[in-house]
């Protein structure tokens, strides 16, 4: 009877991920982010950097004073918010993809090495993971922001530095158990070289989990990047980022609520979508529902 309280269609579909159905909405949102990232300049209604002072602070189209040429309104310099969100999607997706691929790769290699070789290698890598995990990532980001030139590359570097441990731990654990499995043992007995064992037997088996973790982290990386840019330590103007839009808009929070609402919603949508898709992937690829 309790279920009846909830409006079924929308929430039902949102929650379908839990029940194993493909999360269409989430996938669409993520696809949208990627499309914006790839085709941004072509689909964007205006140039994201174009300043038009006389159109400053135009509210979203559905409000009084709004205009269809600026569907989500304009900011304090008359720049089109929708265009900026599209441009921000490019930065977010770029940063997230690079950061995740790099940290996934580094983490996976180190994790596999630790799990496979054990002994000193494992001890060293495990300590490295401990050390890395004992420095909270935001202070760490500030440290490097103070010494490196700010920008996309620095943000990616910082994220990789803080995120590789997740992959390393995951893969290490998985390889530890795989190592004892017959097909790996057989391969070793048959004299297959270590790189081949890695490549042929270990990698495919951890790939699924890596994919799940990567999807789940796509959103968290976007939030992290937004936080850095919000503080002014990440993406620098004139490059557009969602976090930077929030930082710029906060001074006008009482005058024009859409300045902070729209980029915030974009972050939320992208992150929510990646979490839902990640959950679905996990349930699909790994029916045992291992906790990540």
């Amino acid at each position: 009877m309790a279920e009846a309280v909830l409006p079924r269609p929308l929430l039902g579909r949102l929650l379908r991920a839990r029940e194993g159905g493909f999360p269409y909405i989430a996938a669409t949102v993520l696809a949208l982010v990627l499309v914006c990232a790839l085709l941004g300049p072509w689909i964007s209604p205006h140039d994201a950097g174009r300043i038009a002072l006389s159109e400053a602070m135009t509210p979203p189209a559905w409000l009084e004073g709004g205009s269809m040429s600026h569907v989500l309104g304009t900011d304090n310099l008359g720049r089109d918010i929708l265009s900026r969100i599209i441009a921000g999607a490019r930065v977010s997706a770029n940063v997230a993809l690079y950061a995740i691929v790099l940290s996934g790769f580094i983490g996976a290699v180190l994790g596999m090495a630790a799990g496979y070789f054990g002994g000193v290698v494992d001890a060293l890598i495990s300590r490295l993971i401990d050390v890395q995990m004992s420095v909270p990532s935001i202070p760490l980001a500030m440290l490097f922001a103070a010494v490196l030139p700010p920008g996309e590359a620095m943000v990616i570097f910082i994220i990789v530095l803080s995120y590789w441990t997740w992959y390393a731990r995951l893969v290490r654990g998985e390889v530890l158990s795989l190592r004892e499995r017959d097909f790996v043992k057989l391969a070793k007995v048959a004299g297959v070289g270590t790189p081949t064992v890695f490549y042929r037997h270990l990698a495919p088996n951890v790939l699924n989990m890596l994919l799940v973790l990567a999807t789940l982290q796509f959103g968290s990386v976007i939030v992290f990047e937004a936080g850095l840019s919000f503080l002014g330590l990440g993406i620098q103007p004139p490059n557009v980022s969602w976090g930077g839009m929030l930082a710029d808009g906060r001074n006008f929070i009482e005058v024009a609520w859409w300045l902070i609402t729209m980029p915030g919603l974009a972050i939320m949508a992208a992150c929510l979508a990646s979490n839902l898709l990640g959950d679905w992937l996990r349930d699909t690829l790994d029916p045992v529902r291992r906790q990540l």
Binding site: D130, S134, V135, P139, F144, I267, M268, A269
Partner: protein, 305 residues
């Protein structure tokens, strides 16, 4: 037990030395650590003295030893913005940050515990579903954005609570919500699954069989036991909160370590930045140590392997 404590202490020391190594590397990454450590109007003599102090005439490993030696004494250089030892400046602000992180943790627990327990007891019920949605939203919404919205609606529009600064309990509420927001989801999920395990266990079946009241079983026995995995994660959450506090402090003008470090980054006041990172690492390691060592007290069944 004492062997375990010794091992954990050693691990903690290794982690802190590692954190120092990261700072050391970052210092060298900029090219000239001396320029980093001195104000821009420093004289040649200042430069020479700093070069001496950092041991730059010696090989890198020796420089690192010098760095560690200084660090152990809490010497990370002087802030040139405020003409005071950097670490002392931050230690003065540490209570504010800890207070905020603790408040965030309390808020998260206040929300997560009832949500987690009720979701487990009434699996698939309204609360369970709401908690799921909340969990999904919670992880997707940046705390600093929540902070901005809270300021806008609760503080400015409704004028219910103060919007900034440190003071009484009322000042703590909004930043604590913004900070505690994020881990609620994970906490609820962890608690829910461990509650489910316990409620399905033979113990509980037996307790039910002997007719113990359900309320007692759920809220005392099951919760107490289900809490253990949560406690083990509290160290991690607390660290996240400390990091998160760095951002939330900026939103709420909270006079803590994070705000000072963010300011220092902009003012190129590197001594404060490096002291801040080391301080965060030390607090994190210490908190985790305390949490680890306290397992035994919370659940005597868990012994250290």
């Amino acid at each position: 037990m004492s062997g375990y404590i010794a091992r954990r202490l050693l691990q903690g020391v290794v982690a802190i030395v590692g954190a120092l190594l990261i700072v050391f590397v970052a210092q060298r990454l900029s090219g000239d650590p001396v320029a980093l450590m001195l104000p821009m109007d420093a004289t040649e003599e200042d430069f020479a003295a700093m070069r001496q102090a950092l041991g730059l005439d010696r090989p890198l490993p020796a420089q690192f030893v010098v760095f560690i030696a200084n660090a152990v004494q809490g010497d990370f250089g002087d802030s040139y913005q405020w003409q005071a030892p950097a670490m002392a400046l931050l230690l003065e602000r540490l209570p504010a940050t800890l207070e905020l992180a603790l408040a965030g943790l309390v808020f998260a627990l206040l929300l997560a515990v009832p949500l987690g327990v009720i979701s487990a007891v009434h699996r698939g019920g309204v609360v369970d579903r709401v908690a799921k949605i909340f969990a999904m939203l919670g992880q997707a919404v940046p705390g600093f954005w929540i902070g901005l919205l809270l300021i806008l609606f609760i503080a400015v529009e409704l004028q219910w609570l103060p919007a900034f600064g440190r003071g009484g309990l009322a000042n703590l509420v909004l930043p604590a919500i913004a900070l505690g927001w994020y881990p609620v989801a994970a906490m609820t999920r962890t608690l829910r699954s461990s509650m489910l395990d316990i409620l399905d266990s033979d113990y509980v079946r037996m307790e039910r069989a002997i007719g113990l009241p359900e309320r007692w079983i759920v809220w005392r026995f099951a919760l107490r036991n289900a809490f253990v995995p949560l406690v083990t994660m509290i160290g991690v959450y607390f660290a996240n909160m400390l990091g998160g506090a760095f951002v939330i402090e900026v939103v709420f003008a909270w006079p803590g370590v994070g705000r000072a470090v963010v300011d220092a980054v902009f003012a190129r006041d590197f001594p404060v930045v490096q002291a801040g990172v080391v301080l965060a690492a030390v607090v994190f390691v210490v908190v985790n140590l305390i949490v680890d060592l306290s397992y035994g007290f919370i659940d005597p069944r868990i012994r250290h392997g």
